[in-house]
């Protein structure tokens, strides 16, 4: 039995200690907002927060989450009102939508650590999140909009 905090609530799971957090979330807890894309931390589709840091849940064993706090896209806001979600809406960012949970969770972590990222800082932080549809220009624009909403520069 492994215990951690998931989106603010205590969560206990029965799973092999080495099962990646991604599959615990998806297959054990049936929370499918977090996506599989590569299984080797190459694409960022599985990005969640562990104690506030963006991590790739596909290569993070669930045992590494024990006693810690995990946040997923489902816990970001009750009503898609997080400033990053608002900015995503304003820029109509998603195409197929599949990678967007991971993109949003990475963007939130970026803005938490750097409230006024410039293009280079956005590139640096976000280059681990792949989007095959090619929403990068809009993601970049939306991150700047979100930074403005959150009190950084517009």
């Amino acid at each position: 039995m492994i215990e951690f905090t998931l989106n603010g609530k205590v969560q206990k799971v029965e799973a092999d200690a080495d099962m990646p957090l991604l599959w615990v979330l998806r297959d054990v807890l049936h929370m499918t907002g977090t996506k599989y894309g590569c299984g080797m931390a190459m694409c960022g589709a599985c990005t969640v927060h562990l104690d506030g840091d963006a991590i790739r849940s596909c290569t993070t064993p669930v045992s590494a989450a024990a006693g810690k706090s995990v946040s997923t896209i489902e816990g970001l806001s009750e009503d898609t009102s997080h400033p990053v979600q608002q900015a995503w809406r304003e820029h109509n960012v998603p195409q197929c939508g599949y990678c967007q949970s991971g993109q949003i969770m990475s963007a939130v972590a970026l803005l938490d650590s750097n409230p006024e990222p410039d293009d280079a800082a956005i590139d640096e932080f976000m280059q681990g999140n792949l989007c095959r549809c090619g929403t990068y220009p809009r993601i970049k624009a939306a991150i700047k909009t979100a930074a403005g909403k959150m009190g950084g520069k517009a």
């Binding site: 599989y36 299984g39 599949y98």
Partner: protein, 748 residues
């Protein structure tokens, strides 16, 4: 969970919450006899296919029969219906259609959803609106001329009365549907939704992670399957030792998949499935399998050697598929000539969501949930392979986490169906990234040769082009050993240049791995080669690239390759409605060249490259600016102009163009699948990279205002990208890249 709603025709009524009082309309697809139905009951619905319904609660329900994979079709087609219906978009609900032949083709590829269904959707909306107006006129006992639909209501201005659509629905449903010819359509100036930036209907769910993709299906007692497939096409299982696999905690069963003979078609590959209580256990168990494979005739396939062979073949005269005058005599009479050869490797789709399908077999019914672009061929292929009747196979379409052509092949749904039938349990088959990259349907490896002859004024008088690549047809018949007419219709046999002499030829190319269609298909290699060769000629002749293009395109005219011997497919559309129009090519070229100011002086090591291409009956031009310094490439900026005729949702057209630029850069800069001993070498994003944010430039999109019928949007952005990039690299560095990808020549 807010799963994407799927509906059969009868379930549609239930889902929509409408009773017999609802107005429900259907139409048959183009090519069928027009048969509008004045349906009132579920019984009479059985002959119909596309539906709009209005409930007494004022809610409008519209079925989307095409698959959503990021192009925005679940928004675009309903936008058209809602506009003609004069409905309030906030009261529109979109319901996903199940596999059903009655809808007409549901195969969501070929950039044709709006192209083929725009007019039908307008008819549906106008028909419903007219019936609502009739109902109001009857209720008020006034002439129908005196009433008008507006904002989800019908108004009688003279008496200042109005009734909502919900209030009128029941009465409207009792009326006969008007004749199609009698329908009055809105004028463009009055459009509320067509041509407007409507946000996609799935946006909120995508922002909250509340979507349901193929990989997300969950069911009680479901088994998770991971399949080890034959590394070489045609290889079968010699022996399997699953002892260790079965010892892995969570593994429930190991099943050897049935083995099918070639041609590959849509049949699953030979393999061994590990079924477990979760995905992780299944993949762990799979690693413990010990499988020995039989030999295959394709085990000696080596893509590098094969490409050399194709490059050799295109140096020789081939089979002529289109000709004007005599290109060979023209070359001999030319004052100067120029020639070049181009090549591209195999490519794979790499949608962010790999293929995934879930199946349940219960009481003789096989029900499938899949991220499929093609529910109908999923239904027919599953029925055929499992020896079921088609009506025993129900196919639900989830959202697709990207498609790009991969999910037009139903092999992964067949795998799920086979395992569901054998186990008697719900089974979800999830492809790993490695599976997706190593067991796909690949964009064909290709070689091309181009030669031009010029007269003493520098005018190009003779043009010779040869192409060789294994055909998609080979995947299905195992025999075709040269490009098919359908593939040659994609940017090769439809060369739009004004030439005295032309010879378009093919060389043979046999298949060794499954060949399939990838976003814009053969336009990828043809757009690259032709767009590059024009730039080479411009350099040779000292012309600005734009001037070279304009000279080759010649006068404003419609090009028809048929009298010149080529059976041109024109993307399945009539050439009268969608001619090859050189004026439209020139227009997008000039638009993008002017906007990007490509002829302006650039900084040292920086330059623009341009290209223009017609595909899927749309016209796209791209200008790309790069810096090449110390062997390192940086793409600085891209501009793209598209003329796709009438546009339904400009924001989604822009997003498709942005995505096409990035898809095109990915394949040009990074894309390469190589095969050794019959097996694909690459396995994941470390060795099959796709463009990342730091490699992605700012992109400007310009949409040509046009009243022409709608053309394709999803694919036409891709073909000019690679050439515009290679041309920019040449002008920035003097380095001409004729063999993709670019990262073999420059650091990217």
């Amino acid at each position: 969970m807010n799963p994407i709603k799927n509906a059969s025709r009868r379930e549609f009524l239930k889902l929509a919450g409408v009773g017999s009082g609802a107005l429900v309309l259907g139409t048959v697809m183009p090519g069928w006899a027009p048969a509008w139905a004045e349906s009132k009951t579920a019984e009479s619905l059985s002959e119909m296919n596309l539906f709009v319904s209005i409930g007494s609660d004022d809610q409008v329900h519209i079925i989307c029969h095409r698959s959503e994979m990021g192009q925005g079709i679940r928004t675009g087609l309903p936008q058209v219906v809602a506009d003609e219906l004069m409905a309030d978009w906030n009261k529109v609900n979109v319901i996903q259609g199940l596999a059903n032949e009655a809808y007409g083709s549901q195969n969501t590829d070929g950039s044709r959803s709006v192209r083929r269904f725009y007019q039908t959707m307008r008819e549906m909306g106008a028909m419903a609106r007219t019936m609502l107006e009739q109902a109001a006129a009857q209720q008020w006992k006034v002439s129908q001329d005196e009433v008008q639909a507006r904002d989800h209501q019908v108004w009688h201005t003279a008496s200042d009365r109005h009734l909502s659509y919900g209030e009128l629905a029941e009465k409207a449903a009792t009326l006969s549907a008007p004749e199609k010819d009698a329908l009055v359509y809105k004028s463009k100036a009055d459009f509320s939704y067509i041509g407007k930036d409507v946000a996609i209907v799935d946006l909120e769910d995508m922002l909250s992670g509340n979507t349901e993709f193929g990989i997300d299906i969950q069911m009680p007692d479901m088994l998770y399957a991971s399949i080890e497939r034959a590394p070489v096409l045609g290889a079968n299982i010699d022996s399997v030792d699953d002892t260790q696999a079965k010892k892995v905690s969570g593994v429930v069963d190991v099943i050897t998949m049935p083995q099918f003979s070639l041609p590959a078609a849509f049949k699953p590959l030979a393999g061994v499935a590990v079924l477990a209580s979760n995905t992780w256990a299944a993949t762990q168990g799979r690693k413990k399998l010990k499988i020995s494979w039989t030999d295959s005739e394709h085990a000696s396939h080596d893509s590098a050697k094969y490409l050399d062979t194709l490059k050799q073949r295109v140096q020789n005269r081939g089979k002529v598929i289109r000709s004007i005058g005599d290109a060979y005599t023209g070359m001999m009479n030319a004052v100067q000539t120029h020639s070049a050869s181009y090549s591209l490797p195999y490519l794979i789709h790499a949608p962010m969501e790999p293929p995934a399908a879930t199946a349940v077999f219960k009481d003789g019914l096989m029900e499938i949930w899949a991220c499929t672009q093609t529910p109908q061929s999923t239904q027919s292929t599953v029925a055929q392979i499992l020896e079921l009747e088609k009506d025993q196979v129900k196919v639900n379409v989830t959202l697709l986490g990207g498609g790009f052509g991969r999910k037009s092949k139903p092999d992964f749904s067949v795998e799920a169906a086979l395992l569901a039938k054998q186990t008697g349990k719900p089974v979800k088959v999830t492809w790993s990234r490695e599976d997706e990259i190593q067991h796909g349907y690949y964009h064909a490896i290709s070689a091309q040769y181009y030669e031009a002859g010029m007269d003493d004024t520098g005018r190009v008088t003779s043009w010779l082009q040869r192409t060789a690549f294994p055909s998609i047809s080979w995947t299905f018949d195992g025999k075709t050993d040269a490009p098919s007419d359908g593939e040659l219709s994609l940017g090769f046999g439809d060369l739009p240049f004004a030439l005295d002499n032309l010879s378009c030829e093919t060389q043979t190319a046999e298949g060794h791995i499954r060949i399939g269609w990838v976003r814009s298909v053969s336009n990828i290699q043809h757009g690259f080669a032709i767009g590059s060769f024009v730039d080479e000629l411009a350099d040779k002749l000292g012309r600005e690239p734009r001037q070279m293009w304009l000279e080759l395109l010649g006068s404003d005219r419609h090009v028809d390759p048929e009298p010149e011997g080529f059976k041109y497919g024109n993307y399945g559309d009539p050439k009268e409605k969608f001619p090859i129009d050189t004026a439209r090519l020139k227009k997008v070229l000039n638009l993008v060249a002017d906007k990007a100011n490509v002829e302006q002086q650039t900084a040292a090591n920086e330059a623009w490259g341009i290209s223009v291409h017609r595909s899927f009956v749309s016209y796209t031009a791209v200008a790309t600016k790069v810096r090449v310094k110390e062997g390192k490439l940086k793409v600085l900026e891209m501009h793209c102009a598209i003329d796709a005729g009438t546009i339904v949702n400009p924001d989604r057209v822009r997003s498709q163009m942005e995505g096409s630029m990035i898809f095109g850069l990915s394949l040009a800069m990074l894309g390469e699948i190589s095969v050794e001993e019959g097996a694909v070498k690459q396995s994941n994003f470390h060795d099959y990279p796709i463009l990342r944010m730091h490699q992605s430039p700012p992109i400007s999109v310009y949409i040509v205002e046009s009243d022409a019928p709608p053309g394709g949007v999803g694919e036409p952005g891709v073909p000019p990208v690679a050439a515009s990039l290679a041309n920019a690299i040449f002008r920035a560095s003097g380095k001409r890249i004729r063999d993709l990808p670019v990262n073999k020549h420059l650091e990217v």
